[in-house]
Homo-oligomer: 327 residues x 2
């Protein structure tokens, strides 16, 4: 099979397409013929040598998600048959033509979606769902602030939060992206290209999905209301924080750090199945009613142009997800 490979740690010139042996499915595993995979910031960190793949996953083949067809079954597989369209998360190796995954962590591709669209779902929507619901305990009527709302996770979380009846605030350094994000449930866009978000938030928020990290920590705590929750997903502004924790007690805040990639198989399987049951039906349009949730594909490139995809994401030129397709 062909696979995208990082030949070393470095700039985009370390990316190559190489040939590798096809992986073989073990018991309760399926082999998927990958048609599309999306790009994540974790892929960029890994390319720079700053985020190794967890044990048990390909170390030099990047890619944290996939969509494709089941093409071979290991022993005792009950959930899938050859030809089924599936999508899901992997700890690494998603940007190869074939991946092997446990049958319990694959999800069905919602009816009516292309595999290119489907590849934009797993990381963004599972992360958003888990952060909003499981970690963040979001309830209808609450106010949620989503940093980098024009990103893959941001546009997914905005849609889920909107669907759940929350008021959605979001930040971006691009007014044009904020305008687009309104199509995905954003109620109040905050342009942080020239000023911070503190004053623009106006009323306190109940929940923050944060990819900014240390640089935003103190202001995040400041804009949370009583019993507010700060779910930390990334460190775009670094991880060092200097803050007065007095408000954490006074407002009885909860700060939760979360990361998808290092989770155990049972955890990933549980999340995939819960998400498949509760959220996947919302990707399907009904008569006279558009789908409540839509994958947000901002850019599609052939896998052979993975380096260009990295550059586009590093330059923050993208809206929603960047999807790579095998042809």
């Amino acid at each position: 099979m062909r696979a995208a490979v990082y030949t070393a740690a470095g700039d985009v010139d370390v990316i190559r397409i190489e040939h590798r042996p096809d992986p073989e499915p073990g018991p309760r595993q399926v082999r998927v013929r990958v048609r599309a995979s999306a790009l994540n910031r974790a892929d960029l960190l890994q390319r720079r040598g700053r985020y190794a793949a967890p044990p048990g996953w390909p170390q030099d083949i990047p890619g944290l998600e996939y969509a494709g067809e089941v093409e071979a079954l290991g022993a005792d597989v009950a959930r899938w048959g050859v030809g089924d369209q599936v999508m899901g998360l992997v700890g690494g190796g998603g940007q190869a033509e074939r991946v092997v995954v446990h049958e319990d962590e694959a999800m069905p591709v919602p009816h009516g979606l292309t595999l290119t669209d489907a590849a934009a779902i797993p990381e963004a929507f599972l992360t958003g769902y888990d952060a909003l619901l499981t970690r963040g305990q979001l309830r209808a009527g609450e106010r949620v602030l989503i940093h980098a709302v024009a990103s893959g996770v941001g546009t997914a979380a905005a849609q889920i939060a909107h669907r759940l009846g929350a008021t959605v605030l979001g930040t971006s350094r691009s007014a044009a992206k904020l305008a687009r994000a309104r199509e995905y449930g954003l109620d109040l866009g905050i342009d942080t290209s020239s000023a911070g978000f503190r004053d623009a938030v106006r009323e306190p928020v109940d929940l923050i999905l944060d990819v900014l990290g240390g640089g935003a920590f103190a202001v995040n705590l400041a804009v949370l209301g009583p019993h507010g929750r700060l779910v930390m997903l990334g460190f775009l502004t670094g991880s060092r924080a200097d803050a007065d924790l007095d408000v954490v007690l006074r407002k009885r805040l909860t700060i939760v750090g979360t990361v998808m990639r290092t989770r155990s198989l049972p955890e990933r399987a549980l999340l995939a199945q819960e998400f498949a049951e509760r959220m996947l039906p919302l990707f399907i349009a009904r008569e006279e009613e558009p789908a409540a949730l839509r994958p947000v594909v901002g850019l599609v490139l052939p896998m052979t142009e993975l380096a260009a995809a990295h550059r586009a994401m590093e330059a923050s030129e993208t809206f929603g997800k960047v999807v790579l397709v095998w042809s």
Copy 2:
């Protein structure tokens, strides 16, 4: 009635015993003849003018807990009769001869305990229970680190955690207090009089009950294991923190700030009733079996010596609770 009063913000010389009108119970309220009240660090902060009583409670009469007998009933009281022995939390005013409380937030004094013992229960045990269970999600077999384990909350939390099947680590700046705390469920005492606690913890812990705050924040994060929880209850070392939050994501930590005093009546009532049901039976000795939970009364003084009680707590001379009694 007589009441302890802070005549101004300042040192212990602002404490007086004065006469005040008896409070009258409104609908669903009871008036309690207070026999004993315990001292809390919040009382010391309030005396210094740094922690005002929440609205609706006496502003100049300190005291966050009480034990005594019901002596008058407001309209529609169903839960209590005159003469019943009760104990509980108040937002202020506990160090008076009479307090008025909603019937739903009073708890029965466990059979066999004196009112002096009972006064040592509410703040310490409700805080410990809420921090360990509700906020901290403690499970049997986990390792919990309790800072200031010789304090009222510390000795209460150690007993509850031990009873729940956790391994209990605790810090104190006094080796003698650590030795005494072993009687209350402490498994590993860490003397922080001359060194920090980081190395002494050895294996990661699952839960930390922290009253130290900013000065211990980074090391607390460091000694937590995967999915660890840091429950913040106070700021003995200040509230300013400088830390690398990378571990919050990497280990998927949860940081929860909590405070008892500003809670709403429904919240306090819910906690009191849950605690009464699940924990109060454990204060009663059975045949051949000592009680699993014991109030820890380190010092008993008449209310007229409240200033001496403040000085003892400020000098960290006390073990467990300091109880003030009316005579």
